[in-house]
């Protein structure tokens, strides 16, 4: 039962792996995806070409792609921030909803009277705060009772979805537009509070996307240079060493989970401020931004700057999926591809820890 290759522990992690693994993962996912497509009677090259075309190859496509990439960048950073500490917060989905609720609340409340700049700032803060508070429930449960954060954060996604539905569809809440009779919808914000967009190379870039880039830079500096980043690194590497030097692990878990939730909350805020301009209960739940964020984080290998890049990639994929959806482009195809990308990214991580060695000749490496 001797297999031709075996895994051997790597002693060092070459730098090139950092970029090679995502690339290999993507290619691997496309190959496996092609097999699925072929098996179901589709032409993979044709499908991939159309995705490329509709996702990236025109100004209109890029505008749409960046629009989809914005929430994904935030949820990707949300997942990455928590995963770095070993806290598997998969509640980005729900935290995004709750962030949107907070931002819409503030936008509706002071949007008519306060100066535009102030309104936007307060919306951003409120979205972060709501997201952070919602996520910190997960963090507190994990650090105080050692409750499995994966399941609690996931359950809270469903709860958040129910909250959204309640606010818009099943109650006469502050967020609901009283004029919407037949089909209930959110109360629209004042036009003046809409977030600005900027023309860059004749592509429109939203304020939220710039905010995401700024957040990524801040995060990157936190990880590289700050005391908090140092402590996060130690806790993730060796919880016992963290205890040994007296790092407040429990506090850090809560803080990081809250930070992670704030990022997702920002994603929700940007949905309200940039695009929908009301609490869009249906639209927010339609796209699985939170779950796709996990794919983004994994493929970016938890690097916040990488998350922006990957978010654009995934945004393009998702965006192409919307515009192509129809009889010969089945729904679920984009999700399948994204799942495959995560799958191959997980499998690819193994190359950081091991390398493949031939069993016949122990000295010669056969691959990567």
């Amino acid at each position: 039962m001797r297999s031709p290759v075996r895994l051997e522990r790597r002693l060092t992690q070459p730098r090139w792996l950092n970029s090679a693994i995502p690339v290999f993962s993507l290619m691997g996912a496309l190959v496996v995806g092609a097999v699925v497509l072929l098996a179901t009677g589709k032409n993979p090259l044709d499908v991939y070409w159309r995705i490329l075309d509709r996702g990236f190859l025109s100004q209109r496509a890029v505008t749409g792609t960046l629009r989809t990439a914005t929430p994904l960048a935030f949820t990707g950073m949300c997942a990455a921030a928590a995963f770095r500490l070993g806290v598997i917060n998969i509640g980005g989905e729900g935290q995004l909803y709750i962030g949107a609720v907070g931002a819409a609340l503030v936008g509706l409340w002071i949007g008519g009277s306060a100066p535009v700049g102030i309104t936007i700032i307060v919306m951003v803060l409120a979205g972060m705060l709501f997201g952070a508070m919602y996520a910190s429930i997960v963090g507190v449960l994990r650090s105080q009772f050692n409750t499995n954060e994966i399941i609690t954060s996931l359950m809270m996604n469903y709860v958040a979805g129910i909250v959204l539905n309640y606010l818009i569809f099943n109650s006469r809440s502050y967020w609901r537009d009283p004029r919407s009779v037949g089909f209930p919808s959110g109360k629209p914000l004042e036009k003046r509070t809409f977030w600005p967009t900027y023309e860059v190379f004749s592509t429109s870039v939203s304020f939220g996307f710039l905010l995401a880039i700024a957040a990524a830079i801040v995060l990157w500096v936190v990880y590289k240079r700050s005391r908090l980043g140092f402590e996060i690194g130690i806790i993730a590497d060796s919880p016992r060493a963290a205890r040994y030097v007296g790092i407040r692990t429990k506090w850090t878990i809560v803080a990081v989970t809250a930070m992670s939730g704030a990022l997702a909350g920002l994603g929700g805020t940007s949905q309200v401020g940039d695009f929908a301009h009301y609490l869009d209960a249906k639209g927010l739940q339609l796209n699985n931004f939170g779950y796709t964020g996990i794919v983004v984080a994994a493929l970016a290998r938890l690097n916040p700057l990488g998350a922006i890049l990957v978010a654009v990639l995934m945004g393009g994929l998702t965006n192409a999926g919307y515009s192509l959806q129809g009889p010969d482009f089945p729904s679920g195809l984009v999700g399948t591809l994204q799942g495959l990308i995560l799958f191959t990214a997980v499998a690819g991580e193994i190359l950081t820890k091991y390398r493949l060695r031939s069993n016949r000749n122990a000295v010669k490496a056969v691959a990567v």
Partner: protein, 319 residues
């Protein structure tokens, strides 16, 4: 509340709890062997869509079609689970993220939806359903009728499986070895038990049961295919494994408790009780969190005996 209402709730708790139990029992097997499977939701959905397709397209007698549909659902679940095992056991990947990748890959907006779309599985109610039986003609008997004699064949199967699973895990040699693999793979390996084989088999068994649970949704509960129809049942099943202390019997009780929560809304609304629907909808999820907090306190944790090597990849040549 009158006793009649209680009986209705209990009966529908058993009905709604059955797929939860299948998925959770699969989780018990998988986790007892030391593998954490967060792909249950995806496996249930794949089971659901393949069962719906089979029900629509496989010919033959109703019984035959349903049987084939269930087998195909189990097969589909276990194929997906074998991917999970490949990541976790062979590649020793992070089991949490591996499971997530399975759920995203196969989940509500992934492969299950894709299949449903290209197979047109969602168009009609499935014709060949898993229907409630009238056992010994006692279905209409007072109280005991709805509780014991008016269930689907799968519910009766689940009772048998609960007993068999307990016996298997705690009374047989193989069960002892499964538990050893989950508790201390080093020991099992040293005693000549193949950690890899046991983990693959029980992960795939878990996937098959998750697929069966998913089939129950598309063939009995709904009964047609709707994208994302399990609505988080796979995740509740994972929590149920913990809630059931990794024991089949307790897991069955837990499944019925959550089944009751899920059915409460439907039952109460049908009887025009004035309880906000959203509160009832949220109840299973909130309850899951509460239950998890309770069992993860230090007091409980010492007593419930989670498999010690759960979620830890096993690597032999470590030095």
């Amino acid at each position: 509340m009158n006793s009649n209402l209680l009986v209705v709730i209990a009966a529908s708790a058993i009905f709604y709890g059955t797929p939860l139990f299948f998925a959770a029992l699969g989780g018990v097997f998988t986790e007892r062997s030391g593998v954490l499977n967060l792909g249950v939701e995806g496996m249930m959905l794949i089971g659901g869509v393949t069962a719906a397709w089979s029900s629509l397209h496989v010919g033959g007698s109703a019984w035959f079609t349903v049987l084939v549909a269930l087998c195909i659902a189990m097969l589909a679940g276990s194929i997906l689970a074998s991917l999970h095992a490949f990541l976790c056991v062979t590649l020793r990947a992070n089991q949490t993220v591996a499971g997530l990748s399975i759920t995203i890959f196969a989940g509500a907006v992934g492969l299950s939806s894709y299949f449903a779309n290209i197979w047109k599985a969602a168009q009609d109610p499935v014709t060949r359903q898993v229907r409630k039986l009238d056992v010994l003609g006692l279905a209409d008997a007072p109280i005991l009728g709805p509780l014991l004699f008016n269930h689907t064949i799968l519910t009766y199967l689940s009772w048998v499986m609960c007993a068999v699973a307990s016996w298997y895990l705690f009374r047989t040699k193989i069960g002892l070895q499964v538990r050893a693999v989950g508790e201390s793979p080093q020991t099992a390996d040293a005693m000549g038990i193949s950690v890899v084989k046991y983990r693959y088999i029980h992960t795939m068994l878990g996937g098959a049961l998750a697929g069966l649970g998913g089939a129950f949704y598309s063939l009995a509960i709904v009964p047609t295919w709707v994208d994302g129809m399990t609505k988080g049942a796979g995740w509740i099943a994972i929590a149920l494994v913990i809630f059931g202390f990794w024991r089949p019997g307790l897991t069955l009780l837990g499944a019925y408790l959550f089944g009751a929560l899920q059915s409460l809304g439907t039952v109460l609304k049908a009887r025009s009780f004035d309880i906000p629907g959203d509160v009832l909808d949220a109840l299973p999820f909130v309850m899951t969190i509460v239950v998890l907090v309770l069992v993860s306190t230090r007091f409980a944790h010492k007593r419930i005996g989670a498999p010690a090597a759960l979620g830890v990849p096993y690597e032999r040549e470590e030095r």
